[in-house]
């Protein structure tokens, strides 16, 4: 089974993040850039499937040159190789544009299974798995907290607001996973050393047969008009409990008409 894992480089969600003032895109220059955390669960799931069923795990990333740092980190967990779609014309791509590029790359790779994180910590948009599946005409099993593979048959448990759904499909398919699905491994020393020798193939838009004007800012289907920092919340009254903390708390709730 050929498994492609989508990996996105994002600004570290634990640090200060911002948008660029010139074009409102994510400021990658000033940020500490890391693998989107949810994607490490996707990598782990792919590696476990390879272990159980054989096959190959390929990392696929679309992003600027510096995303190669994250690709190396992803490879150090154990995947076989990586493909990096990098092209200046991609800057400013909307989700539709991004899905067009990733779908084209997945098509070229002839993946049986695409696994990705359910959302990225920067955009938190959750639209890409279904966009990619829609473009490729393949199944999307999204929001998995459990994935079972039997031959070409895939079954997930999909977390919903009211419980869960069991959803099944045959390969080829896109599966997105939450962080409840497994516990990602840490790269071993050997893994880190091996990753340095693994192949990262770069693809430009022309390699995918996509015109520059169809993606990036020129091809974007939505525009950010402005952005601003939200005034930080001001901490309010903080009291130390000296025996009446619970009562004081309820007095506050009552003053705000919650009680």
């Amino acid at each position: 089974m050929k498994i492609v894992v989508l990996v996105k480089q994002v600004p570290d969600s634990g640090a200060e993040r911002s948008l660029r003032n010139d074009d409102h895109t994510v400021d990658r220059g000033s940020a500490n850039n890391v693998i989107n955390e949810m994607d490490t669960y996707a990598i782990e799931e792919a590696l476990r499937l390879k272990q159980a069923h054989g096959g190959e795990v390929v990392i696929l990333t679309m992003g600027p040159d510096r995303a190669s740092e994250s690709i190396r980190k992803a490879l150090s967990m154990g995947p076989d190789s990586a493909v990096h779609v990098v092209d200046d014309a991609l800057h400013g791509s909307c989700a539709l544009g991004t899905s067009k590029v990733l779908a084209a790359a997945i098509g070229q790779l002839e993946a049986d299974l695409v696994i990705c994180g359910a959302e990225a910590t920067d955009g938190r948009v959750q639209v890409l798995p279904h966009m990619i599946a829609e473009r490729l005409g393949i199944a999307a099993l999204t929001g998995a907290r459990k994935l079972t593979v039997a031959g070409a048959e895939l079954t997930i448990e999909r977390q919903t607001e009211e419980g869960y759904e069991v959803v099944a499909a045959s390969t080829p398919a896109v599966v997105s996973v939450w962080d409840t699905i497994n516990e990602p491994r840490y790269p071993s020393f050997k893994g880190i050393m091996d990753a340095k020798k693994k192949q990262i193939r770069t693809l430009a838009l022309a390699d995918l047969g996509i015109a520059a004007g169809d993606v990036g800012f020129d091809g974007a289907s939505s525009v950010v008009l402005e952005h601003s920092m939200r005034p930080p919340r001001q901490g309010g009254n903080k009291v130390t409990d000296t025996g009446e903390g619970g009562v004081t708390l309820v007095e506050f709730l009552a003053s705000e008409k919650f009680v």
Binding site: H130, E134, I138, T142, V167, L225, E226, H227, T240, G246
Partner: protein, 323 residues
């Protein structure tokens, strides 16, 4: 006035399907943009249980697409039917809930129509400009769809729903679903009981527990306070990862995003992971024994103290006031 389509979400937790609060919010919002039409996509018979409520909140039409085919497969049939409807009625905008399913339908619709999509909007003005709050609530973004109509998924609890009763005209729409929309089969649907508590993202009040709650048994205290306030129960990642409370109640970066009127954080330090999921709550209250906990920087009211003495006292005080 131009027609605005609102994709209905229904809860199946009770005996009868009910319209989710977020749909009433969308109808309220749609009235400011044009004439709201509700779109019910579901199994046969579902629309009948929902129509009155949709009319009460101003839906002048209710389009119903009911079929086992819609219910039996994940998302794709809904998007297919919706795409046909959009082509047919040429609405001024399409509004969905920014829930997992709402965003997924929007994603497929965007590809089908080659139409831009905005998600997680907290407001949308008549010019189609949406406001989004990103990066754990630190940044406000205003954006607009530039290709196609405004296709916008709006976060639950972004506005207060208000009734505007009308008698909706019900129109059945044909369900034509091709094989490619039927690749992901829903084999089973499990509703996990959450008793009388409101749904987490819909709740006006959320009471959450964190690492400081210290055990699964102790979450009974969080639940007791929640039930007194008519609140939903949430948990931090530290609490769900430690097995104190089920993962589906996790609030935060990798969990659910909530925006209630009141958020009560018990024994939650307030790491960015958690703040990302609750920072837009209107009023925040915190109880933590660590006076330096970052949660106090957000809290409108904080008590530095042991939650195991503060919370029981608060519960007793609320009972006393409620008589």
């Amino acid at each position: 006035m131009a027609e605005v389509l609102v994709v209905v979400e229904a809860s199946s937790a009770g005996d009868q399907p009910t319209v989710k609060k977020v749909t009433l919010e969308l109808l309220t919002l749609a009235r400011e943009l044009g004439t709201p039409s509700a779109v019910v996509l579901g199994r046969p018979g579902v629309a009948a249980a929902l129509t009155d409520k949709l009319g009460e909140y101003g839906a002048t039409r209710v389009y119903t697409a009911e079929s086992e085919e819609i219910d039996g497969y994940l998302v794709a049939p809904k998007a297919a039917v919706l795409a046909q409807l959009v082509r047919q009625v040429q609405p001024a905008a399409v509004l969905l809930a920014a829930t997992q399913e709402g965003k997924e339908i929007a994603a497929r619709l965007a590809v089908k129509l080659d139409n831009g999509v905005l998600t997680d909007a907290v407001s949308l003005d008549a010019d189609g400009v949406a406001t989004q709050v990103v990066f754990a609530g630190s940044t406000i973004v205003k954006s607009r769809v530039t290709r196609g109509l405004p296709l916008v998924a709006v976060r639950p609890n972004s506005l207060t729903p208000t009734p505007a009763p009308t008698m909706p005209r019900v129109e059945q729409i044909a369900v034509v679903v091709d094989a490619v929309a039927k690749l992901a089969r829903v084999v089973e649907r499990k509703v996990e009981a959450q008793g009388a508590r409101p749904e987490l993202t819909e709740a006006s009040i959320v009471v959450s527990g964190g690492r400081g709650v210290a055990s699964a048994e102790n979450f009974a205290l969080v639940e007791e306070l929640a039930d007194l306030l008519g609140a939903a129960v949430g948990a931090s990642r530290a609490a769900t990862d430690s097995g104190f409370y089920p993962h589906k109640f996790q609030v935060g970066q990798t969990g659910r995003t909530v925006s209630p009127q009141l958020y009560v954080a018990l024994g939650i330090s307030g790491a960015i992971q958690h703040r990302a999921g609750m920072q837009t709550s209107k009023t925040i209250v915190a109880v933590n024994k660590d006076a330096e906990a970052p949660m106090f920087e957000l809290a409108d009211f904080g008590v530095v103290g042991d939650l195991f003495t503060v919370v029981p006292q608060a519960i007793e005080e609320i009972r006393k006031r409620q008589g």
